[in-house]
C-alpha cells in the first residue's frame, strides 16, 4: 500500500490533472466536443430564452398592446419551455456518452500500462486489490469529467448568451454582469482550490477509519478471547473522531463555497439591477428592456451555482488521475524483448546463474544459482524474507537480474517472447487469481483449446476429482467473485490444475501446499512431475514434505544460498 496509492497529503495543485490525463490518454475529438457543447448550449439558451421572453411578454402586455402583437412571444415562451427540458436531457446524455467513452479508452490504456508492471513492478504485494483500486480510480476520473464538462458547458454558454443579451440592451450593465459572473466563477474555483487539501485529508481520514474497522473486525476473535477489545475500541473512536473533524472542516469549506457563491451572485444581480435602473432613468433603456435585462441576468447568475460543486468533485477525480499518471513513471521490471530469440529445443533446463536481483533499493538475491533440469524436482527452502519469491519471479521472467543470467536452455529468458514461454514454464503463485466465470474457463486460461476431458483430468490430478463430482454443474460451475466460494485449498489446487493443463516443461510453484492438508499436499507433489516424469519442477516451500519429494534441496537465507543438497544428503 505504498507509493502510487499513498495518501492525499501531497496532492497536486488543482483539478487540472484529470484534464491532463484525459488529454494524454483519451483525447476527445473536436467534433465530438462540439456536439456535446451544442446540446449544452441549446439547454442553456432555452433557459435564458424562457425567462427573458416571459419577462418581455408580461411587461409588454402591461402596456396593453393588441393580443396579436404578443402571439410570437407566447409561442416562443411555449417553445422554450419544451426545448429546455429536451435539450437538458440531450445534454446530460451527450455528456455521459462522452465521459463513458473516455472512461472505456482510459481503462484500456490503464490495462496496457499495468500489464508490463505485474506482478514484479508494483510496490504492493497484494497486487489483486491494488489492481482493482486502479479501476476505481479510472471510474473517478470519468465521473469528474462528466460533472466538470456539464457545469463548464452550462456556465459558459449561459454566461455568454446572458452577457451578450445584456450588452445589446445596455453595455454598462452587460459589463457589470460579465464581471459578476467572472467573480462568482473565480471565487468558486479559488475556494475549490483552497479546499482541495481538505478533500484529500478527508479521504485519508475516511480510509483510516475503514482500515481501523477492517483490522478490528479481523482481529476480533483474538482480542475478544484475550479480553483486549479495549485496544481497538479506542483506536476506532480516535479514528472516527479524526474523520469527524476532517469532515467538519471539509463541510466548512463546502459551506463557504456555497454561501459565497450565493452572495456573490446576488451582489452581481443587485449591481446589474442598479445599473439597469440608472440606464432607465437616463432614458437609455426602456422599461421592457429593463425587465428583460434583469431576468437574463438572473438566469445567467443562477447557472453559476453548480460550478462550485462540480469543481470540488473534479478534485476527487484528480486524485485518481494522479495515481494513474504516476504509473507511467514506473519501470517495467522485465520488458518484452524487441527482437525475440528463437526459444531453445525441448526439453531445456531452467536456470539462474549467479543471479543478482535488486528490488525496492536493496539486493534481494545475491549470486544465486539454481538449475531445474528436466525430470528433476528442486525444492527451494529458507526462512521468510530469504528471497524465495523473488527467485521464482526471476525464473518466470517477471523480474530481471541486474547481473548474472536467467536462462532456458542456453537462451536468456529476457530474449524470449512471452507467448513462447507459455508452454515452457508454468507458474503458480501463492495466491493465484480465480477469474469470475466458469471452472472450465478458469482452466482454459492456460490452454483455450483444451477439451472438457483434459480439464477434468487436470482437476483429478490435483485431487479435485471428488469435488468436481460433487458439483451439479461440473465444469460450468461459476467460480470467482460472485460465483461459488472456494476454500483457499480449492483455490490453490485450481491454480495448480490450470498450470498442469498448460503442460509446461518446467513447473514453478510458490508455496503449493501452504493451504493444503498433508495428505493432499503429498498427493499433489507426487503427481506434479507428470506421467513420464519428464517435467522439471521447482517447489518453494516451508513444508518439510516438499523437501522429502525433492531431488535437490536449495536453501536460501537473506538472498544467498546457504546450503545445497540432494534428497539423501
Amino acid at each position: 500500500m505504498s507509493a502510487p496509492r499513498s495518501g492525499g497529503a501531497r496532492r497536486g495543485r488543482s483539478a487540472d490533472r484529470t484534464i491532463a490525463l484525459v488529454r494524454n490518454v483519451a483525447p476527445i475529438g473536436p467534433r465530438r466536443l462540439a456536439g456535446t457543447l451544442a446540446t449544452g448550449a441549446a439547454a442553456a439558451a432555452s433557459n435564458i430564452g424562457l425567462l427573458a421572453t416571459s419577462a418581455w411578454l408580461i411587461t409588454t402586455a402591461s402596456s396593453r398592446p393588441p393580443v396579436l402583437a404578443l402571439s410570437v412571444a407566447i409561442a416562443a415562451v411555449q417553445a422554450f419551455a419544451l426545448s429546455r427540458g429536451l435539450a437538458r436531457y440531450g445534454e446530460r446524455l451527450a455528456v455521459h456518452d462522452l465521459s463513458l467513452d473516455v472512461l472505456a479508452r482510459l481503462r484500456l490504456r490503464l490495462y496496457d500500462r499495468l500489464e508490463p508492471l505485474v506482478p514484479g513492478g508494483l510496490p504492493s504485494r497484494r497486487s489483486g486489490a491494488l489492481l482493482s483500486a486502479f479501476v476505481a480510480d479510472a471510474d473517478d476520473v470519468g465521473e469528474a469529467l462528466a460533472r466538470g464538462v456539464t457545469a463548464a458547458v452550462d456556465v459558459s454558454v449561459t454566461a455568454v448568451l446572458g452577457v451578450a443579451l445584456a450588452c445589446a440592451l445596455d453595455l454598462r450593465s452587460g459589463a457589470i454582469l460579465a464581471g459578476g459572473i467572472v467573480a462568482t466563477g473565480a471565487s468558486s474555483a479559488l475556494l475549490a482550490h483552497l479546499g482541495h487539501a481538505s478533500v484529500g485529508r478527508e479521504a485519508d481520514a475516511r480510509a483510516e477509519v475503514a482500515d481501523v474497522v477492517v483490522a478490528a473486525v479481523r482481529s476480533a476473535p483474538e482480542l475478544v478471547a484475550h479480553g483486549r477489545t479495549d485496544l481497538v475500541v479506542g483506536a476506532i473512536a480516535a479514528a472516527q473522531s479524526r474523520a469527524g473533524s476532517a469532515a467538519a472542516r471539509g463541510a466548512m469549506f463546502a459551506g463557504v463555497r456555497r454561501g459565497a457563491g450565493v452572495v456573490l451572485a446576488a451582489a452581481s444581480l443587485v449591481a446589474v439591477v442598479a445599473s439597469g435602473l440608472g440606464a432607465y432613468d437616463a432614458r437609455r433603456l426602456s422599461a421592457v428592456a429593463l425587465a428583460v435585462l434583469v431576468f437574463a441576468a438572473l438566469a445567467s447568475l443562477e447557472s453559476c451555482a453548480p460550478l462550485a460543486d462540480a469543481l470540488a468533485s473534479m478534485a476527487a477525480g484528480d486524485a485518481g488521475a494522479r495515481r494513474i499518471a504516476a504509473l507511467s513513471e514506473l519501470e517495467p521490471p522485465a520488458p518484452e524483448p524487441v527482437l525475440p530469440a528463437t526459444p531453445p529445443g525441448r526439453p531445456a533446463p531452467l536456470a539462474l546463474v549467479d543471479a543478482v536481483v535488486a528490488r525496492g533499493g536493496g539486493t534481494v538475491l545475491d549470486a544465486v544459482s539454481v538449475a531445474v533440469e528436466p525430470g528433476r524436482r528442486v525444492a527451494l527452502v529458507g526462512p521468510s524474507g530469504a528471497g524465495k519469491t523473488t527467485a521464482v519471479l526471476t525464473l518466470v521472467h517477471f523480474l530481471e537480474c541486474s547481473s548474472g543470467r536467467a536462462t532456458l536452455g542456453d537462451v536468456d529468458l529476457a530474449a524470449i517472447a512471452r507467448p513462447d514461454l507459455r508452454d515452457r514454464i508454468g507458474w503458480v503463485p501463492e495466491d493465484a487469481h480465480v477469474f469470475r466465470g466458469s471452472l472450465g474457463a478458469n482452466l482454459r486460461v492456460a490452454d483455450p483449446t483444451a477439451s472438457d476431458d483434459r480439464c477434468r483430468r487436470a482437476l483429478r490430478e490435483v485431487g479435485l476429482g471428488p469435488w468436481l463430482a460433487s458439483l451439479d454443474d461440473g465444469l460450468e460451475t461459476r467460480v470467482g467473485s460472485g460465483g461459488r466460494p472456494l476454500s483457499s485449498g480449492e483455490r490453490q489446487r485450481l491454480a495448480l490444475a490450470r498450470a498442469l493443463l498448460g503442460d509446461p516443461d518446467v513447473l514453478v510453484l510458490d508455496e503449493p501446499t501452504a493451504h493444503l492438508d498433508p495428505e493432499g499436499g503429498t498427493l499433489v507433489l507426487e503427481r506434479l512431475a507428470g506421467p513420464a516424469d519428464a517435467r522439471g519442477v521447482l517447489v518453494v516451500s516451508h513444508d518439510p514434505e516438499a523437501r522429502r519429494h525433492a531431488d535437490v534441496v536449495v536453501e536460501l537465507d537473506r538472498g544467498r544460498i546457504r546450503a545445497r543438497g540432494t534428497r539423501d544428503g
Binding site: 424562457l50 427540458g85 472512461l103 500489464e115 505485474v118 478471547a225 470467482g480 498433508p518
Partner: protein, 580 residues
C-alpha cells in the same frame, strides 16, 4: 461485490428504511436544523423574487408610488445574505448529521462483531468500513431534501397565491400532475432501470476481475487476448450504462418539462390578463419568477434519490447484520475465580452445529461435532480443509454460538457462564493472527500485559524470534504492522504464537501453531509449546507430525456433518476414561 449490488437493487425501492430510525435519533436535531435551514432559504428565495418583480414593475406606469428602490435593492441583498448563510450552515449541519448516523451504525456493528464474532467477518468489515461512507449523501442531503420536497413547493405556491391566485391554481395543477407523470415514468422505467443497474454492476465486476487477474494472464501470455475482452466489456459497459442513464434521466426530463410548461402556462395567462387590464404587473412578474422555484426541490430530491441508492444499500447491509441474532443474553453465573496456579478446565462439546452468523443459510460450517478435552489433556484436532476445525476452536472460546448442541466447561453450560471470566483462563492463536499497529513488544504482550521481562525474553526465544528482534532497528521497541515494520507471514504467525504462549492460561486453543515454518524452527517451537502446555488443557489444530507427537489424543474431524471420531488414541489417552 455483485452480491452487495444484488442486495442494493432489492432494497433500494423505498426511499426510507424504517429500521434506520433508531440510528437517526442522535442526528434528529441536526436533521431538523437542516430542514429548517432549507425552509428559511426557500423563504429568502421567495422574498428575493418578489422584491425583484416589484423593482422591475416600478419602472412601468401605474406602479404604486412610495416604494424605495434602494430599500428594495437592500432587501434583495439581505435575502441573498440569509440564503448564503443558510447554504453554509446547511453543509455543516448535514455533515454533522451524517457523521452521527455513521458513527452510531459503525459502533453498533463493531460492538456486535466483538461480541458475536465468528465467520463472515470479511463482509462485515467491508460494510462497517467504507460501505457506511455512502450514507453521507443519503443522510446529509437526501433525507432533508425529501422532507423539503414535501413542504417547500407548498410554501412557494402560497407566495404565488398571495400575488396572484390564478397562477397558484395553475402551479398546483402541475404539482398534482407530477406524481401521475412520475408514476407513469417510474413504473415502466423503475423496473428496467433496476435490471440495467444490476447489469452495469456485473459488467463492472467483470472488468475489475480481469485487472485483478492480470499477473496470471501475463504468466500464460494471454494479456493480448484478454485485452480484446477488456475492450469489448468496456464497450458493453458503456452502452449499458448509457441505456441505464437514458431511463434514469427520464424522470428528470419529466420534471424539467413540467416546470418549464408550468412557467409558460403561468406567463401566458398573466400576459393576456395584463392586456385586458385585469391585473397589475408586479404580482404577475412575482408569480412568474417564483413558479420555476417550486419545482427545484422536487427535482433535487428525485436526482438525489438515484444518487443515494448506494447509501441506502449500505444502510440495508448494515441493518441486515444488526437484525441478526445477537449473543445469548441469558443470566450468567461466574466460574469460580482461579486462585494461585490455574486449574486446567474440562471442556465438552456435544453434537455442536454452527451456521454462518451473517447469512444464516447454506450448509453448516460445523455439523454435529462432539469433542472432549479432559482437564490437563492436550487434544490435537486434524481433518481436511473446510471441515470446521477453526470454527470448533471458536466455539470452545465462546466466540461463536452454536445453533444447536451444547458446550460445557467443568460441567457448567458455557451459555450461562460469564464469557469474560471464561476467556480469562484461555489463550488463543487464531488461524489468521493479528498484528496490531504497535511495537513488537506491545504485540507480544497483548494477551499478557503484566508478563515479566524474563518471561518475555523466554517467549521470544521459544518462538525463534531472536533473529527478527536482532534485525529490527529498535529491537522489541520497533513498531510493526500497518505503518510500521512489515512482518512476513511466518513472522506474524510466530509473534501471535509467542503472544498466546506468554499468557498464563489454563486452556490453550491453538490453530496451526507451526504452519509456515521450516523443520528446524518447528522443532524449537514445538518444544516451547510442549513446555508451556504441560499440565494445562489444550486444543490444537495441526497437521504436523512433530506437534501431533506431544498430543495426548488425536481427534479427526470430517467434512459435511460427519460426527468426529477419535483417531489413533495415544498411550496417555488410553489411560483416561474415554469420552462417552
Amino acid at each position: 461485490m455483485s452480491d452487495a449490488h444484488g442486495r442494493a437493487t432489492r432494497t433500494a425501492r423505498a426511499p426510507f428504511d424504517r429500521r434506520l430510525l433508531p440510528y437517526l435519533m442522535p442526528a434528529r436535531f441536526a436533521l431538523g436544523a437542516s430542514v429548517a435551514l432549507g425552509l428559511v432559504a426557500t423563504a429568502s428565495i421567495a422574498a428575493q423574487a418578489v422584491l425583484l418583480a416589484r423593482l422591475v414593475a416600478s419602472a412601468f406606469p401605474g406602479a404604486p408610488a412610495g416604494e424605495s428602490r434602494v430599500a428594495m435593492l437592500a432587501g434583495i441583498a439581505v435575502a441573498a445574505a440569509v440564503r448564503g448563510a443558510c447554504g453554509l450552515a446547511s453543509e455543516v449541519v448535514a455533515q454533522r448529521a451524517a457523521t452521527r448516523v455513521k458513527t452510531g451504525l459503525r459502533v453498533a456493528l463493531v460492538a456486535r462483531t466483538l461480541v458475536v464474532g465468528g465467520p463472515g467477518a470479511g463482509e462485515l468489515a467491508t460494510i462497517a468500513g467504507r460501505g457506511l461512507d455512502a450514507l453521507d449523501v443519503y443522510v446529509g442531503r437526501s433525507l432533508p431534501d425529501l422532507v423539503l420536497a414535501g413542504a417547500t413547493p407548498f410554501v412557494l405556491v402560497a407566495v404565488i397565491a398571495y400575488e396572484d391566485w390564478l397562477s397558484a391554481v395553475v402551479v398546483l395543477v402541475a404539482l398534482a400532475l407530477f406524481p401521475v407523470f412520475g408514476a407513469l415514468v417510474g413504473r415502466s422505467a423503475g423496473e428496467r432501470a433496476r435490471a440495467r443497474w444490476a447489469e452495469v454492476a456485473t459488467l463492472g465486476d467483470h472488468l475489475v476481475d480481469l485487472f485483478a487477474g492480470l499477473p496470471v494472464l501475463r504468466a500464460y501470455g494471454r494479456t493480448q487476448r484478454e485485452r480484446v475482452r477488456v475492450e469489448e466489456l468496456g464497450e458493453r459497459l458503456r452502452r449499458s450504462s448509457l441505456a441505464t442513464l437514458k431511463v434514469a434521466f427520464l424522470s428528470a426530463l419529466v420534471l424539467d418539462t413540467l416546470a418549464s410548461v408550468s412557467t409558460a402556462l403561468v406567463a401566458v395567462p398573466i400576459g393576456i390578463r395584463l392586456v385586458y387590464g385585469a391585473m397589475q404587473l408586479a404580482p404577475g412578474l412575482a408569480a412568474l419568477v417564483v413558479t420555476p422555484e417550486v419545482f427545484i426541490p422536487l427535482r433535487r430530491a428525485s436526482a438525489e434519490f438515484h444518487e443515494s441508492a448506494e447509501g441506502l444499500a449500505a444502510a440495508a447491509g448494515a441493518l441486515d447484520i444488526l437484525a441478526g441474532p445477537g449473543p445469548p443474553s441469558a443470566r450468567r453465573i461466574d466460574l469460580p475465580r482461579p486462585v494461585g496456579r490455574p486449574v486446567p478446565p474440562h471442556v465438552v462439546l456435544r453434537s455442536v452445529e454452527v451456521r454462518d452468523p451473517i447469512r444464516r443459510t447454506g450448509p453448516a460450517v460445523l455439523g454435529g461435532f462432539s469433542l472432549e478435552v479432559a482437564a490437563g489433556e492436550i487434544v490435537a484436532l486434524v481433518g481436511p480443509n473446510g471441515a470446521g476445525k477453526s470454527t470448533a476452536l471458536a466455539v470452545v472460546l465462546g466466540l461463536v454460538t452454536p445453533s444447536s448442541g451444547s458446550v460445557s466447561v467443568d460441567g457448567v453450560e458455557l451459555s450461562v457462564i460469564d464469557r469474560d471470566a471464561w476467556r480469562l483462563r484461555c489463550a488463543y492463536l487464531p488461524d489468521r493472527p493479528t498484528i496490531l499497529p504497535a511495537t513488537l513488544e506491545e504485540n507480544l504482550r497483548l494477551a499478557a500485559p503484566s508478563a515479566s521481562a524474563r518471561d518475555l525474553a523466554r517467549g521470544v526465544s521459544g518462538t525463534c524470534l531472536e533473529r527478527l528482534v536482532a534485525r529490527l532497528p529498535d529491537g522489541l521497541a520497533t513498531p510493526v504492522g500497518e505503518g510500521g515494520w512489515a512482518l512476513s507471514a511466518g513472522e506474524r504467525q510466530r509473534v501471535a504464537l509467542g503472544r498466546a504462549l506468554l499468557r498464563d492460561a489454563s486452556l490453550y486453543v491453538l490453530d496451526e501453531p507451526t504452519a509456515h515454518l521450516d523443520a528446524e524452527t518447528e522443532a524449537t517451537i514445538v518444544a516451547a509449546i510442549g513446555r508451556r502446555l504441560d499440565g494445562r488443557s489444550a486444543l490444537v489444530v495441526t497437521h504436523r507430525p512433530a506437534l501431533l507427537e506431544i498430543a495426548d489424543r488425536v481427534v479427526r474431524i470430517e467434512r459435511e456433518g460427519v460426527v468426529a471420531v477419535p483417531a489413533e488414541p495415544g498411550d496417555r489417552a488410553l489411560a483416561r476414561t474415554s469420552p462417552s
